[in-house]
């Protein structure tokens, strides 16, 4: 079970708590995690990545295990502790004012 921490506006949009848990088939990649998230919460489509190109939105970042995974290829396998659910994958809105 993968643990995902969402930014507050998306928690409101999806009507979920701060952390959601998802079943994701191995190998666990960012592409698969986001696909599983959007399949379960369709209202999040387009909020994190382009719906057609799957390009990450510019002000969205992905962190885990104190690493910035935002620029990793989406098909790269995530750290084992994320895949096992020990560590959450953090989806973060960039600190860009507002």
């Amino acid at each position: 079970m993968i643990r995902l921490v969402l930014p507050t506006p998306l928690c409101t949009l999806a009507q979920v708590g701060r952390e959601v848990q998802l079943e994701v088939a191995e190998p666990v990649t960012l592409e698969r995690v986001l696909g599983a998230l959007e399949a379960r919460y369709p209202m999040l489509q387009g909020t994190l990545r382009d719906q057609v190109t799957h390009r990450r939105r510019p002000f969205i970042r992905f962190f885990a295990c104190q690493q910035d995974l935002s620029h990793d290829p989406p098909d790269r396998v995530l750290p084992e502790t994320v895949g096992s659910g020990q560590e959450p994958l953090l989806i973060v809105g960039a600190m860009a004012g507002g």
């Binding site: 506006p9 998306l10 949009l13 387009g46 057609v52 939105r57 969205i60 507002g98």
Partner: protein, 371 residues
């Protein structure tokens, strides 16, 4: 008893403000879509409890939300706005070509006859249509691919399609406006478009009388006279009596003819309202005095309406979609400011009252008159 519902879009969410037909006691809803920018929300004329809203966010992109109970609850609907076919380029501010790219929805215009049919004007300028209550969106691409498209350039707010006027006589006919391209009309449901900018003159483009390139800020019309259009251009208040084929200036004795908002009295098609703003680099009222100007003659002769409005140290702006009217016997006029204030007049503009203060900057005001 009749009532009024005001839909207010702001930089940080939306509000619904209601009153009964006397329009004395106003109830302000809780903040909806907290943190999201609401460039526009608007209700269906067919089903007044069907409201479409367009929250957007620099972080999370565009949402479209729909309410079927007058704004008490909302559900997300479709938010995929994909340009059709090759996107090509438009002009950037410096005149270089720039590929079309979706930024946000500026305006939602529900159909006059079908609650599930709604149009969306977006940035970068294009017109989309949904016939399933907002679940899916399809571009009316003949507008963007009009031969003049590569010459369109953004206004200060972006290359935005901000005005959609549906013709009550003919569902195939509509007029739209883009900053800074101008006005366009279709008579066949969006299959073909023609620029309707003859008579507009803009000093900020190489040919001031060009077919396109004009920074139209807003267009309004009275439903009983669909061919009479009133336009607030970047500079100049303009009028057309033939559906946009030809325009002539009616700025007359306004203290400045720059501004954004323009609207028409609900029962007097020749009575129009603007909020003059000092200039394009000084987006505030002349002399720090907030005044609505009314013409009862369809333009040229204007009177200042200031009773109840701040007459000193007022440096707010009123944006293009932030003025609206109700259709009660004594027409009500409403507008919101960049300082988060919403004003109402229940006597056609003779006097004004602030009905709510200290909201986030107001982006849009739409009024519903409820039976």
């Amino acid at each position: 008893m009749s009532g009024v519902r005001i839909l207010v879009g702001t930089r940080k969410g939306a509000f619904v403000i209601t009153a009964d037909g006397r329009r004395r006691d106003w109830r302000v809803s809780e903040l909806m879509f907290a943190g999201w920018e609401l460039y526009h929300l608007k209700a269906s004329p067919v089903d007044p409890d069907r409201i479409y809203a367009a929250p957007s966010s620099g972080w999370f992109g565009q949402q479209i939300q729909r309410s079927d109970d007058g704004g008490l609850s909302w559900q997300p609907v479709g938010n995929q706005f994909d340009y059709s076919g090759q996107t090509g380029t438009h002009q950037w501010y410096d005149g270089t070509p720039k590929p079309w790219e979706f930024k946000r929805v500026w305006h939602l215009e529900p159909s006059l006859t079908d609650a599930d049919l709604v149009y969306a004007g977006i940035e970068d300028a294009a017109l989309f249509r949904s016939s399933d209550g907002g679940q899916s969106w399809h571009e009316l691409a003949a507008l963007r691919t009009h031969g003049t498209g590569p010459a369109w350039q953004p206004g200060a707010g972006g290359l935005c399609l901000h005005t959609i006027l549906l013709d009550p006589r003919d569902a195939q006919r509509m007029v739209i406006a883009i900053s800074a391209a101008g006005a366009f009309r279709t008579d066949d449901g969006g299959q073909t478009w023609q620029p309707v900018n003859r008579g507009l003159r803009s000093e900020g483009i190489p040919d001031p009388n060009a077919e396109v390139g004009h920074c139209v800020h807003h267009i309004a019309r009275h439903p009983a006279r669909p061919d009479v259009l009133f336009m607030q251009k970047h500079w100049d208040v303009m009028r057309s009596d033939d559906g946009g084929q030809a325009w002539y200036e009616v700025s007359g004795d306004l203290p400045t003819d720059f501004g954004f908002a323009i609207d028409v009295h609900a029962h007097e098609p020749e009575t129009i309202y603007v909020v003059p703003i000092k200039s394009d680099s000084e987006h505030y009222p002349p002399d720090g005095r907030l005044r609505v100007y009314r013409s009862r003659s369809g333009g040229n002769e204007w009177e200042a309406l200031s009773a109840g409005l701040p007459q000193s140290n007022c440096y707010v702006n009123v944006l293009r979609d932030a003025m609206s009217v109700d259709t009660l016997d004594e027409c009500g006029i409403y507008f919101g400011t960049s300082a988060g204030e919403v004003y109402a007049s229940i006597d056609a503009g003779d006097s004004w009252q602030s009905i709510v203060s200290n909201l986030p900057p107001v982006l849009s005001v739409e009024v519903q008159t409820l039976a």
